[in-house]
């Protein structure tokens, strides 16, 4: 196998047409990913927000994180065996696939949402209530915007994992980019497998890049630290009311909790490629 063969695969028009062509497979892959994220968001965001807002049932977040240890492929087969006989259509495979992917996406979304809400400064929350905001207003006007960075990093992490893992749908005879891996393996067409992996990695990177852009646009400069970095030195020097500020220096640093809670190595694109590069190996374990 050489780079020329990979290049050849990508430039072969046959690989870009029909149900087995790249555009159709990418579309399928995105469909699984989108559906999964939608369901996971509907479950995880209200739950995480409520746990963070009320401070109750924190063990849910820890429990969901522990669920990450369940092997996805094994779970997929288990669920398929359960659900399969009950349904007489493609849904017999779609539902199990989406279910296991949702279970994969929930922990980062749940802990991201929870950690975001929980990290809101108690003084800001107290002031919001004391100024006459209702519980809903405190949540939507103060807690949610402040929680956005941690929530979005949870979303990025979940998106990467789901895109990488959605390849398993192919193992229960569904489509998506996983087809290239499964079919390639079956026919010992390793070029096809490598190209499929490259496509998965590229898709993951593009999705992560788009979310990064969204993060930049949606998060208030007051929280992301952008405003702080730009104006701090100016504020120090020219400000007539400038006062000593002992605790301000480290405020622009990212929240250490972010890294700790959202999980090990799921935020960086480098890690994403490593995971997506060998999906078949990963799923066999």
């Amino acid at each position: 196998m050489s780079l020329a063969k990979i290049f050849g695969w990508f430039t072969d028009p046959a690989n870009w047409q029909g149900a087995d062509g790249v555009p159709h497979r990418v579309l399928e892959h995105l469909l699984y990913t989108g559906l999964t994220l939608l369901v996971a968001l509907v479950v995880a965001v209200p739950l995480g927000a409520w746990v963070g807002h009320s401070g109750r049932l924190r063990w849910l977040v820890t429990g969901a994180n522990a669920a990450r240890a369940v092997p996805t492929l094994g779970l997929l087969f288990a669920v398929s065996m359960f659900v399969g006989p009950l349904i007489q259509s493609d849904l017999a495979f779609v539902i199990p696939s989406i279910t296991v992917l949702v279970l994969l996406a929930i922990p980062p979304l749940l802990s991201g949402t929870y950690a975001g809400i929980d990290s809101v400064e108690p003084a800001a929350r107290d002031a919001a209530r004391g100024m006459g905001m209702t519980g809903w207003q405190v949540l939507t006007k103060v807690e949610a915007p402040c929680a956005l960075p941690l929530f979005l990093s949870g979303l990025r992490s979940a998106t990467l994992q789901v895109i990488a893992t959605a390849t398993i749908a192919a193992s229960v005879s569904l489509g998506g980019l996983g087809r290239y891996l499964i079919d390639g393996l079956a026919s010992r067409d390793y070029v096809q497998m490598v190209c499929g992996s490259i496509l998965v990695a590229a898709l993951a990177l593009v999705a992560d890049g788009l979310l990064a852009l969204l993060e930049k646009r949606a998060v208030s400069p007051g929280i992301s630290g952008r405003a702080t970095r730009v104006a701090r030195s100016r504020a120090r020097n020219s400000d007539p009311h400038s006062e000593p500020d002992s605790d301000g220096a480290d405020r622009s640093d990212p929240d250490p909790r972010q890294a700790a809670l959202v999980g090990s190595g799921t935020t960086g694109p480098v890690q994403a490629t490593a995971t997506t590069g060998t999906p078949s190996e990963r799923d066999r374990t």
Binding site: A123, A127, G132, L148, G222, T228, D245
Partner: protein, 383 residues
């Protein structure tokens, strides 16, 4: 007017933050915070001062008793409406990090339905009023120092022009220099606005400085004494209050006595750049150096001047009293001066003359005698 009538807060167990060793945070408190005045609640940790404050805007619900604002029982009002009508300032300002200073200040008016433009133009006025550069309106809280954040906190509390303000240790998280600055500006602001303010602090000096009246609470939420600062210092009701009010009460009480007109001695002065001979020609071991506008700069030890008077040889230990200041400042100027002659300046900061401690003491004694027998008041002022 905020009125507490037999207010008690009892926590079910000892987990309440202000409950101290028992479960009662505030015990049968009856108190009036008069309209347009600053009432300071002061006391050690666990005395229930913060609980008392937070019961006014119902952040904490009293177990029994009633709290009324201008005759209306707070329990009968909608809680969000009640809070929107009360300015609320807390220790760490509690600004919203995702909103600019301007948008922080407009919070309550926006909640009340004021349109954005009106709310913003009023917010700009307030931002200037609390002593911030208008350019700061577009900054985010993380770009401000602690003292600036606290100013924004005050502006935000004032934005809907509430008649009542609750302030929970607003100046305690900033360093002493900034704190004093904030206190002075707060007093200046209050003299313009005349809000009904309930102010919590653990710092008796702050209480005495800011309060029109001071309520000292003891652990367990019992009111120990409610009086004007001067009375509190002069006449603590019991050992607890005396101990809490602290040492140097006689001296500190002089803060409340305006400096009388005393005859000041003329002080020969030199300016910066004066030669050693000029300084020694004055004939005293310490010579006062003044600036171009006649403002006192510091004392110079004649023997220490080698060629000419520079800023580095100035002794800056002495304080400067103002003719419009207090007896305490006058006495302190005399006591802190290396020459023993206290420097007195007029309201514009220009040197008027000097005075010795021995000349201030009779003024202090005359004041006490005047207080003891009203008839001798004229006598005292004649001196």
């Amino acid at each position: 007017m905020i009125r507490f009538e037999g207010v008690t807060k009892r926590y079910a167990d000892a987990s309440g933050t202000e409950s101290g060793d028992g479960s009662v945070a505030v015990d049968d408190l009856t108190l009036e915070a008069p309209t347009g005045k600053i009432t300071v609640l002061v006391g050690p940790s666990g005395c229930g001062k913060t609980t008392t404050l937070r019961m006014v805007n119902r952040m904490i619900t009293p177990t029994s008793g009633t709290i009324s604002i201008d005759g209306r029982d707070t329990a009968s009002l909608d809680v969000a409406e009640l809070r929107r009508g009360i300015g609320y300032v807390i220790q760490h300002a509690g600004l919203f990090p995702h909103r600019t200073v301007l948008d922080n200040v407009t919070t309550v008016p926006r909640l009340l339905g004021t349109d954005k433009r009106t709310a913003r133009s009023r917010a700009m006025e307030l931002i200037e009023r609390v002593g911030l550069d208008p350019a700061m309106a577009r900054r985010y809280p993380a770009q401000l120092s602690g003292g600036q954040q606290q100013r924004v906190g005050v502006a935000r509390a004032l934005a809907a022009d509430p008649p009542v303000m609750l302030m929970d240790e607003p100046f305690s998280a900033v360093d002493p220099v900034v704190r004093e600055q904030l206190q002075n500006e707060f007093l200046r602001l209050q003299s313009d606005l005349g809000k009904t303010i309930l102010f919590v602090t653990h710092d008796i000096d702050e209480a005495v400085k800011l309060g029109d009246q001071v309520a000292v609470l003891r652990v367990g939420g019992v009111l120990a004494q409610l009086d004007s600062p001067a009375t509190l210092l002069a006449d603590p009701v019991d050992d607890f209050v005396a101990g809490f009010v602290g040492r140097d009460r006689g001296y500190r009480a002089l803060s409340f006595a305006a400096a009388p007109e005393l005859s000041l001695a003329d002080e020969p002065t030199v300016s910066l750049g004066a030669s050693a001979d000029d300084v020694r020609a004055v004939g005293t071991p310490w010579v006062l150096c003044v600036g171009d506008a006649g403002e006192p700069l510091g004392w110079v030890r004649a023997a220490a001047v080698e060629s000419e008077v520079t800023r580095t040889v100035l002794h800056r230990g002495g304080t400067v009293a103002s003719t419009t200041g207090s007896l305490r400042a006058l006495l302190d100027a005399a006591l802190s001066s290396p020459s023993g002659r206290g420097v007195v300046a007029d309201a514009d900061g220009r040197l008027v003359g000097t005075i010795r401690a021995a000349e201030v003491i009779p003024a202090i004694e005359a004041r006490r005698d005047a207080a003891a027998s009203p008839t001798s008041a004229e006598e005292a002022t004649a001196r």
